[in-house]
Structure formats: structure tokens, C-alpha cells
Symmetry: C2
Subunit: 243 residues, 2 copies
């Protein structure tokens, strides 16, 4: 049985200010909730039409379909909705290969990039404070649980991109990523969907990388940032997986 | 001044059966409409708050913001909406590098893949008849005008994937794409988001490719198909752009 206060809390968590206030976020659907339940994330509450979640004892609330629809942001709610605590980020391991995002706006892009980090074994994703919140529900759903395996840290890029570490920036006019030697460590920086890497941090880039476009000039102007991330991470990783 | 029949027609074009019946589709927003106006696509009508489109003479209808909102599928309509004729596809050039999609469901994925074909100079995209319609408005908007530079053909893959051409299929368990020799011509096949390449055409694949996952087994199970397309097309093209 769902209380009015629970409904109110869940609805409020759709907004970043209430996620920050309560230090909680919402996850939906069997597959993604399963990933978070099997991770280090702390469960606050789980609401489901399926009583097998009753093993979570006092954290479990059985709901009917109508109640689930009231709290879900899906048009077709999928059995379960859970609230988890936002964890404290671990310290960034700057001596590994780190991906940094400068003002990524689109939640779907951020979710996809988190999933790519997970696939390619990038343990640390650092985001400028102007990047969309990674606990936004669209980010959580599109990352499909990869949050649980990638350490995501929000910080001021300008003061944190250290001079001693090679920063690789993605630009339209950089050196071809197919021709540039890529190291196993360093920081890869991707910029905003419309404006690219901001002026403030552009000067910190040691290497300007680009993905060559094929064929004529009458082609599309740009790649989607998540696709650019896929290609760049693949290029960095292919060296370590080659025979 | 917008007529009731125009509104009715535009709304009907949100459904595939009416797009097929009228052989027309809708494009919205300044940037994407611009791409189609500057292509071989035949304009049927353009509706805009901006009278500079009056150069299209009898095809132009001036509308106010309220009227534009009535016909737009955007929450914030962007100045212009146009109707174009669906062109007849050109003959597929099977002797080039062709991308084939087997039952891609998500309009955003298809739009992104069309944009990737444009970027990487893939002139022919062939889609199984079970793939989402490329004139679906979400596909058109997410491809950002790349339709105008990629020949998209719907056909039965099983009967059209010719034995004499090397078919490269993307699988979870294939040979690493970093280790496989890739030719400049052939057919690259990507399967459905949830189920991969269908049983019927799996046997036609000469090479089973996969994108290696880094690190431990406790990683995400799969890549988004548009990201997989980005990485695979980049690998096929890097050879032709390398020094």
C-alpha cells in the first residue's frame, strides 16, 4: 500500500534539486533495478507488483498496477520501481584512462556514454558541473545499470585537468585519430553537443583529435557525441586488445 | 492561412500507412528542412512563420505560431514544417560497401545510423522490411538531413544478400573486429536491438565480427546498435584513410 508521502517523494525526485536534497534517485524496470540491487548502491525502497521483492523486508512495498502507474515515469510501467541512495563518488584515479565530459546536455547521450565506459573498461568518468545530472531518470534508464560499474564524478574541469597528464580533446579540426599515437593512460575530453569543448579548457588540450569524415565535403557536419565517444574509446582500446 | 485539409493531411502523415498512401513525409525545423530543400527531394508544401520561404511560391503557406503548433510534433516548433515526396530509391550498388539492417526497431537508432552512413561515405543502406520506416518523423529528425545523401532501400534481406559478396555480421561471439582483415567492399549486417541477426540470414554471414569488451566479465552485456555501427564503420573506413 502506497502512501501519499511516498508518491510525493518519488515525484519530487524527478527534479535535480530534490535529488540533491534527499540524496536519492529513482530506478525503474526489472532489468535495470536488478543491476542496482546487485551492486554496492544502498536500497531505500522498492515498490513492485511482484512479491518476490519481499525479500527486501521493510524496504519492500507491494503495489498494484494502478499504484505503480501513479509513481512511474514510463507509459508502460515494468513491474518495479526502486529508490536508491546517491553514493559518494570514489577518488578519481587520474593515472588510468579517464573520460571527461564538458557540458553534455542530453540525458540520452550521457546514459549511452556511461554504458560505453562500462563496455570499454573506463573506470572513471568525470563531468563538468554544467553536464546533465547522471541521476536524471533518462540517464539512469539509458545507461542500463552501467552506473554501478563506472565511478562518476562532477567537478570543475578547468581546475582539475592536471597539466602533467596528457589531455586528448575531440575537435572537428584535429589530427586523425587513426594516425595519432594513443597512450594507455590520459584524459579524453568530449565537448558539448552544439559548441564542442569550451574556450576555458581548450588550451589545456595537449592533443587535438578528430575522426576523419569519408568522401566529399557535402557530407553531414558532425557526429553525435555518443557515437564520437564510441569510436574514440574503441581506438584507445584497440591497441590493448590487439594480438 | 492553414486549411483543415492541410492539418488533417499533416497529422495523417505521422502514420506509416498514410505516408505510403500519399508517398509523402514531414520534415521540421530550420536546419533539417534546409537540408531537404537543398537536395533532390521534391517539395510538396512548406509552412512557416518566416516569409523568406515565399520564394517557394505556390508551395509556401505563411502560418502564425499558433497554427504551426497545430501541425508540429515538437513541443517547441521551430519556424518551419515542410512536406516532401518520398523518392524512389536508386538501384543498390552492391559492389561498394553496403550497410544492411535486420529489424532495427528504434527510430532514434535508425536516424543515427543514417547519419553515420553519411559521415563515413556509405552510399547504400539497405533495411529489412521489418526495420522501422525511415520516413517516420523521429528517424527524419534524428538523421538531421542525412537522408538526402544516403540511398535507403527496403527489401527482403534473405533473398537479396547475394552469395558472391562477403557478408560481415555483427555478433556477440564473433572474431575481434580489431584482428579481422576488412575489405573495402562487402555487406555489413547489424541485427535487431534485442535479438541480434535473425536465424534466417545468420547462415549467409561469411564473417562473424564482434567488438571486444574490455576488462572483467562483470561488465555491461551489450552495446547500443548505433554505437556498434559507429565502431564497425570506423574500423572499415580507417584502412582507407590511413597514411
Amino acid at each position: 500500500m502506497l502512501t501519499k508521502n511516498q508518491i510525493k517523494l518519488i515525484h519530487s525526485l524527478r527534479q535535480k534539486k530534490f535529488r540533491s536534497l534527499h540524496q536519492m534517485f529513482v530506478v525503474e524496470g526489472v532489468k535495470v533495478v536488478h543491476e542496482f540491487l546487485n551492486s554496492n548502491y544502498d536500497l531505500v525502497d522498492v515498490f513492485s507488483t511482484d512479491t518476490s521483492y519481499s525479500k527486501y523486508n521493510s524496504n519492500f512495498t507491494e503495489v498494484n498496477l494502478k499504484e505503480l502507474a501513479k509513481i512511474s515515469s514510463f507509459s508502460n510501467p515494468n513491474q518495479v520501481l526502486a529508490i536508491f541512495k546517491i553514493p559518494l563518488p570514489s577518488l578519481v584515479n587520474w593515472s588510468g584512462l579517464v573520460l571527461a565530459l564538458d557540458a553534455i546536455n542530453d540525458p540520452g547521450n550521457l546514459g549511452t556514454i556511461i554504458r560505453l565506459c562500462d563496455w570499454f573498461g573506463i573506470d572513471d568518468l568525470v563531468c563538468s558541473e554544467t553536464t546533465v545530472d547522471c541521476y536524471n531518470s533518462k540517464v539512469v534508464q539509458s545507461s542500463m545499470g552501467s552506473h554501478t560499474r563506472v565511478n562518476i564524478t562532477y567537478l570543475d574541469l578547468e581546475t582539475n585537468l592536471v597539466d602533467s597528464i596528457t589531455c586528448y580533446g575531440a575537435f572537428m579540426d584535429g589530427v586523425s585519430i587513426y594516425e595519432q599515437e594513443l597512450s594507455k593512460t590520459g584524459i579524453i575530453v568530449l565537448g558539448n553537443e552544439a559548441n564542442g569543448i569550451s574556450k576555458e579548457i581548450e588550451s589545456l588540450m595537449k592533443v587535438r583529435l578528430s575522426i576523419p569524415r569519408s568522401g566529399s565535403l557535402k557530407r553531414t557536419e558532425s557526429l553525435n557525441v555518443a557515437n564520437a565517444a564510441a569510436i574514440i574509446l574503441s581506438e584507445f582500446k584497440r591497441n590493448t586488445t590487439e594480438k
